[in-house]
Each structure stands twice: as structure tokens, then as C-alpha cells.
């Protein structure tokens, strides 16, 4: 910090944090601009999904209709949605515990070994998914690995950096002392696992599971190249609709069908936490409560 005004006087309305002092109108206008940046690409998507007839120079659709949503009730679309759900779920169920194990291993192993585990588990980030699939594809074919299993295997590898990273950052701020206090107070290892470690890592587990689910749910290129048309998921339907022109309604409705479920899950997970924070109650983790109760019982 170099050029501070000597004698710069803290005014009574001293801002908090970065607190840009500028006129509130200007600040709000800038905020609106950012909201605009985030939401504008989604506006045509929503409009096209409910558009009946929307001819070229018209800014808004001439007629509105929900007919395009009928495609979601077609058996083919439902099957594709089910495949996507199954793919996302399977990838998440496998990649989440593996991520936790990898993160714990990286922490437990000393120096160079720990760093090697970290490096290997981050390596898939450096490999473009299409390159990973292309090289592995012929081996998968020769070993007669079914398309679904092949896609799951590759996507688990793609998802592992994310799940490992989630657990790594949770473990980095993990309060070992909670476990130690519980042990000191006479808890056996199983109780520690159930009442201390599991609750403390639950938020990271949810986040890791969500990210891994998204890898499978929204995947296009791996399913395309390995599935070879045998595995039809929602993104596959969307990709073929978007590649040709004149399918605006279909693209819009399928896009919403892919976007909305994860956003709802995200809101369901994030909103309660936000509300809790806003209520400004002291953070009471289940583990903290349990340790406090034990402390009281022990008369400490």
C-alpha cells in the first residue's frame, strides 16, 4: 500500500469491507448490469420454450403456446431423462466415496506420496474429455465393456478431481480437536465417526455428490463417442436438435429440462444454509452440539 493520503480522515459513514462509496444509484445500476449479463442468455431460451409463432423481425413471440413441452411426455424423452438420471447418479455414487478416500489418503500419506496422490487425482483436469475417450475407446471395445459401464468409468475419472478437491478443502479446515475432545470424553471410534466426523463432512459430501452428478447428468461428448448412439441421454437429444436449424422450441424445452432439476437441487441445498446465516445465530454444528453436551455431562 503506497499512496495513502496522509491524514485521510475516517468519515462517520466509513464503508465496510471493499465498500465502494460511490452514489448508491450508480452502484445499483452496475448491479443491474451484472444481473443482465448473467440472465440475458437465458431469456431467449425461456421465450422460445413458450413461443407459438415467432417470426423474424418480431422482438417478442407473436403467439404463445405450451405445445413444445409435450415433447417431455414422449416415451423417448422420458427414457433419455431416466438414462441421464441413472448416469449422473451412478457416477456420483462411485466418485463421491472415492474422492473422500483419495482426499484422506493424500492427507494421511507423508510428503511426496501424499503429493503424488494429489497430482494423480487432479490429472484428469489436464486431459480434454474427448482425448480421454478417443484413446480409451478401442480398448473398451476390445474388452467388450458395455456402453453404459464404459461411459460411467470414464466419467468417474472425469469427476474425481472435483470430488477429491471438495473433500481436500473440507479436510484442510477440519477441526481435528472435535474428534480429540470426543475421544478424551470417552467416545469410541465408531461414535466419533458417527457423531463428529460424518456431520462435519456432510456439507462437503453433498457438494461433491452434486458436482459428480452434474458430470454425468450434463455429459455430451463422452456419451456420444463411447455410447456410439446406443446410450441416449437428454444432452444427446439436445445436441442433435441444436445441430440443425429450425428446432428452436425443441432446443429451448430440452435445455430447460436439463437445467431446472439441478438448479432446484442447488436451491434446496443452498437456501436453508443462506437463511441460517442470515438469521445470525451462532453456528451450531451437530458435532459441536454433541461435544458441548458431553462436556456438560462430564462437568467440564
Amino acid at each position: 500500500m503506497t499512496a495513502l493520503r496522509p491524514g485521510g480522515r475516517p468519515s462517520p459513514s466509513m464503508p465496510v469491507g471493499i465498500g465502494v462509496r460511490g452514489r448508491p444509484v450508480l452502484r445499483t445500476a452496475f448491479g443491474v448490469l451484472l444481473v443482465f449479463w448473467i440472465l440475458v442468455p437465458l431469456v431467449p431460451l425461456v421465450l422460445w420454450s413458450v413461443a407459438g409463432l415467432w417470426q423474424v423481425p418480431a422482438v417478442l413471440p407473436g403467439t404463445y403456446s405450451l405445445d413444445a413441452f409435450a415433447v417431455l411426455a414422449v416415451p423417448g424423452t422420458l427414457a433419455a431423462a431416466l438414462s441421464s438420471l441413472l448416469l449422473g447418479g451412478t457416477v456420483a455414487v462411485i466418485a463421491t466415496p472415492l474422492g473422500l478416500m483419495g482426499a484422506l489418503a493424500a492427507q494421511a500419506l507423508p510428503g511426496r506420496c501424499g503429493r503424488a496422490v494429489d497430482l494423480i487425482l487432479l490429472l484428469p483436469l489436464a486431459v480434454p474429455p474427448f482425448a480421454l475417450v478417443m484413446g480409451a475407446n478401442i480398448t473398451l471395445l476390445r474388452l467388450h465393456v458395455p456402453a453404459f459401464a464404459g461411459v460411467v468409468l470414464l466419467l468417474v475419472v472425469v469427476a474425481l478431481p472435483y470430488t477429491t478437491f471438495m473433500f481436500r478443502s473440507a479436510l484442510a479446515t477440519y477441526e481435528q480437536r472435535f474428534e480429540d475432545v470426543a475421544l478424551t470424553l470417552g467416545a469410541d471410534p465408531r461414535q466419533v465417526l458417527r457423531h463428529v466426523r460424518a456431520p462435519l463432512l456432510s456439507a462437503a459430501t453433498v457438494r461433491a455428490f452434486f458436482l459428480a452428478f452434474l458430470v454425468g447428468w450434463g455429459d455430451y461428448i463422452t456419451t456420444l463417442l463411447v455410447g456410439g448412439g446406443q446410450l441416449t441421454t437428454l444432452p444427446m437429444l439436445l445436441g442433435s436438435a441444436a445441430a440443425s436449424t429450425g428446432n428452436e422450441q425443441l432446443v429451448a424445452v430440452l435445455s430447460l429440462a436439463v437445467i431446472i432439476p439441478p438448479v432446484l437441487i442447488l436451491a434446496a441445498v443452498a437456501l436453508p444454509a443462506t437463511i441460517r446465516t442470515r438469521a445470525r445465530k451462532p453456528a451450531r454444528t451437530p458435532a459441536g452440539t454433541w461435544v458441548r453436551a458431553l462436556t456438560r455431562k462430564a462437568g467440564l
Binding site: M1, I18, V40, A105, I138, R168, S169, Y220, I221, A267
Partner: protein
């Protein structure tokens, strides 16, 4: 949020570090269970194997398979014949594709880092409106790039939503399918700026407020606080997220395929087109392209990490 850069392990509760005072009351057998300091414990190895083996195996098989196929040693059908045609014969096209991908990745990274920084700054500086923007921005992260590309197509194509609302002049450059990859870069900037903002907010939210308060008390203007406090604090997170965005956009397929022109092709589009070609002789070229993009990603990561390490050393 701590960003562990390939193994730098910041202040975590390391079971092998000298015990702080609160741990001295542990029973001796609990210590024994944690293993001697610095030893490779059985528990560590058992935990590592299920995660490390699939990753190492799949990447190993993939790289070896791609290399063998690019040299004609693992043909789809027929006898293996060693040949470097896939590398030598198309070196010019391959080089052009690498340049196109590098251009897209650089432009997208610069745009998303700038926009992401501005979003993070606004979120940290403006409590109420900032929370709304943080929520909206985070909500775009689960949107797959394929959907982002479809949406940007509806927005930016000729006769797209932007053209309808603003009535763009005919001289306005073509964004979707244009030779400058405008729509592709816009899509990456839109999606990845939200990612950059999320990483920045997570890494700075705890430290930045107090330091800015201190700077403000000393008389720093808002601009000085941004330049001398926020920017230095955000540098590690900015560097890591920029590196991730660069590597990702370099090898990403969906947006480049849907929104880019048919020629010139970025590496991903070229590789997938050759891979799906009815001409099986195109396979080795597809593999060479895949390997080149993998190599470029690794070079970018190593260069980025070296730059980060050097800048940390200079400070």
C-alpha cells in the same frame, strides 16, 4: 476455500505434525493407530488405491492407446503397420488447429477472469444486491456447456434475440459461425466468469473485509483498496482459476462445435470429426490431434505452475 495447487497442503490438521497442546491428552494407542510420523501407513495406501488406480489406469490406457493408434499400431481393423503419416502428413492443419484453440482459450480466459473479478468485487462490496448476484451467478454453474452453447446460439445468431431487440446493422460482424469465434468466446466467458467469481469469493470472503477496513481507516480510496488490497489478495485464486479456464476451454468441444465456423477448426472439433469419419484411415489423425491437445494442456499447466511459483518466490 483453500486451493491446493498440486500438493501444496496449507495448514491442514496433519496427524503427523507435532501435537498441539489440546492433543496431549490422547491415549497412547490412539497415537499408535495414526502411525509413526513420516511413515507410509497401510491405512494411507488402502485409502489411496481405489481412487488412484482407476484414474491412472484409464489415463494410461488412453494415452498409450492414442499413441499406438496414431502410429498405426492399433488399427480398428487390419494389420498393424508402423507409420508416421498421421503426424507428418497433416502437420500444417494440426498446427493451425492448435493456434485456433489457443486463440479461443486465451480470449475466453482473459474475458472470464476480468468479468469474474468484477462480479466477485461487486459481491464482496455490496452486501444486499451482492448476495442476489452471487446466487444468480452460482446458479449458472450447473448449466452444461452444451446448453450454454444452445442458449447463446438463440441469443446471438443472425435473427437471434439480440438482433431482434437491437436491430443490428447488416455490417455487424457475424457472431455465430463467424471466423472470429465471437459466440464461442462469449459462451465461455459467460459460463467461466461465474466459476472464476465463485472461486474468488470463496477464497477472499474471510480475509478481504478486515484488510479493506484497515486500509479505509488509513485513508485509502475505494480504487486504492481494490488495487493495493483486493487484487494482491486475489492473485493466487485468480491464477489458479485462469489456468483451469484456459486448459478447459482449450480442449472443450460443445460450444466450439455448435457456435464456431466449419473452418478453421479448433483441435476438439477436428479430432471428433476425424474420429467419426467413415474413412477409418482418419482415425490415426484423430488420435494425433487428441494427443497434441493433451500435450498442450499439460504444457499450459506446467508453465502456469512455474509462473505461479516464481511470482510467489518474488514476493
Amino acid at each position: 476455500m483453500n486451493i491446493p495447487i498440486t500438493g501444496s497442503r496449507p495448514h491442514q490438521a496433519d496427524p503427523h505434525s507435532p501435537a498441539p497442546s489440546s492433543r496431549q491428552d490422547l491415549t497412547p494407542d490412539r497415537y499408535a493407530a495414526r502411525g509413526a510420523p513420516g511413515a507410509v501407513t497401510l491405512r494411507g495406501v488402502v485409502l489411496a488405491v481405489p481412487a488412484v488406480v482407476p484414474v491412472a489406469l484409464v489415463i494410461g490406457v488412453s494415452v498409450v492407446g492414442a499413441l499406438a493408434q496414431s502410429l498405426g499400431l492399433m488399427p480398428f481393423i487390419g494389420e498393424p503397420v508402423l507409420s508416421t503419416d498421421a503426424w507428418a502428413g497433416s502437420a500444417g492443419d494440426l498446427g493451425r488447429s492448435v493456434l485456433v484453440s489457443a486463440y479461443i482459450a486465451v480470449a475466453s480466459t482473459v474475458a472470464s477472469v476480468i468479468v469474474g473479478f468484477v462480479i466477485a468485487l461487486y459481491v464482496l462490496a455490496t452486501p444486499r444486491m451482492g448476495r442476489i448476484i452471487a446466487g444468480l451467478s452460482a446458479a449458472t454453474i450447473p448449466i452444461p456447456h452444451l446448453i450454454g452453447a444452445g442458449a447463446i446460439g438463440l441469443l446471438l445468431s443472425d435473427s437471434g434475440f439480440l438482433d431482434r431487440t437491437l436491430g443490428l446493422p447488416p455490417a455487424f460482424p457475424t457472431l455465430v459461425g463467424g471466423s472470429w469465434f465471437g459466440a464461442v468466446i462469449f459462451e465461455y466467458a459467460w459460463k467461466e466468469s461465474a466459476f472464476v467469481a465463485l472461486v474468488l469469493i470463496g477464497s477472499m470472503s474471510r480475509s478481504v473485509s478486515g484488510m479493506c477496513d484497515a486500509a479505509a481507516t488509513l485513508g485509502a480510496t475505494a480504487w486504492q483498496r481494490i488495487i493495493h488490497v483486493v487484487l494482491p489478495l486475489s492473485r493466487p485464486a485468480l491464477a489458479v482459476s485462469a489456468l483451469i479456464v484456459f486448459v478447459y476451454t482449450f480442449g472443450s468441444y460443445e460450444a466450439a462445435w455448435l457456435l464456431g465456423p466449419t473452418s478453421p477448426e479448433p483441435v476438439s472439433v477436428r479430432a471428433v470429426r476425424l474420429f467419426g469419419s467413415v474413412d477409418l484411415a482418419a482415425r490415426p489423425e484423430a488420435m494425433a490431434t487428441a494427443l497434441v491437445s493433451l500435450g498442450a494442456g499439460i504444457v499450459a499447466i506446467l508453465a502456469g505452475l512455474a509462473m505461479m511459483r516464481r511470482s510467489r518466490g518474488l514476493r
